[in-house]
Symmetry: C2
Subunit: 152 residues, 2 copies
DNA sequence: TTGAATCCCTATAAAATCACTAGGATTTAC
DNA sequence: GTAAATCCTAGTGATTTTATAGGGATTCAA
């Protein structure tokens, strides 16, 4: 029941991107330096986020990434689902009406997985990127936060 | 962000156990037959549930398992945590006050993981085993439910 | 026009985790 | 004593995760 590094790194990267975005696009190199994430790996994550329409890329020298929409319009749920696929605790076809599991109607555990799924999605959809950026600014007045080896 | 077979099988097994518990203890063989779960594997799961105090075992011929307490006093959360360890989406030491991550105070993502963790735990702790057994009885009046190959 | 900076795509390797399987040891009812 | 059951510890093949690596393609500045 764990989130992979994709989700963890990706969320940190997008907070960073939102925080450092200004006139010029933010390069992968700069994010990876600040966040201590492998440049090559981060590249892949940004690709996924781009394909999901959360960021835009600007190629060539001086290029990098920018948010595709306002930070207030991007939720943690959008980011995590883009990177982790759906957040369902169980890959239960009964959760998807179109797929039709023959046991679905009689399945008791489906009820449980559905409840967990709903609560996770509701929680992550409530948290917006701008809020996290603001929190981050509050915590860190002037000097940079000491992240150390923390990869979460 | 997936629950492993431990949690999925374990919950089904305990619903089954609660459903079929009567005078005599319920054997692993009978549960594994009804639920289509590998006997040897289920053995391990029952061991974990026993160590967590959710079931009691009776050894020897005619032995098996019984619930250690009323079905109404066992929550889905108890079961899943017994089998999956904690349900935290991220193994973040900042979530545990005693461990003390140096970045904890400045860590923005910790806030997110904490929220997800709380919502999952609240959800699974609200659902009790007796409720699931009752639901199961309702859905299946007389004839057994067709579970097919569904492993969820 | 050239070179540096940057994104883009695919393949592959190492590590970790999962989902069992195997082989016994112990306990109990009959 | 024997069969039926739980108990315990390892081992193992398959899959997934977590990157690394390499080779482009594109853009901009000088």
């Amino acid at each position: 029941m764990k989130l992979s590094t994709k989700g963890r790194y990706g969320l940190r990267a997008l907070i960073d991107l939102a925080q450092y975005s200004g006139e010029t696009p933010v390069s992968i190199t700069s994010i990876s330096d600040r966040q201590n994430i492998s440049e090559r790996y981060l590249e892949q994550l940004m690709g996924m986020l781009k394909r999901s329409g959360l960021v835009k890329s600007i190629r060539g020298a001086g290029g990098g990434y920018i948010l595709a929409k306002e930070a207030a319009e991007i939720s943690v749920g959008d980011i995590l689902r883009a990177l982790e696929g759906n957040l369902e605790p169980v890959n239960c076809s009964g959760l998807h009406p179109e797929e039709g599991c023959e046991a679905a109607d009689n399945c008791v555990t489906k009820y449980v997985w559905q409840k967990i799924n709903d609560s996770i999605n509701q929680t992550v959809d409530e948290i917006r990127l701008d809020h996290l950026v603001e929190e981050s600014r509050k915590k860190c007045t002037g000097n940079l936060p000491i992240q150390g080896n923390c990869k979460n």
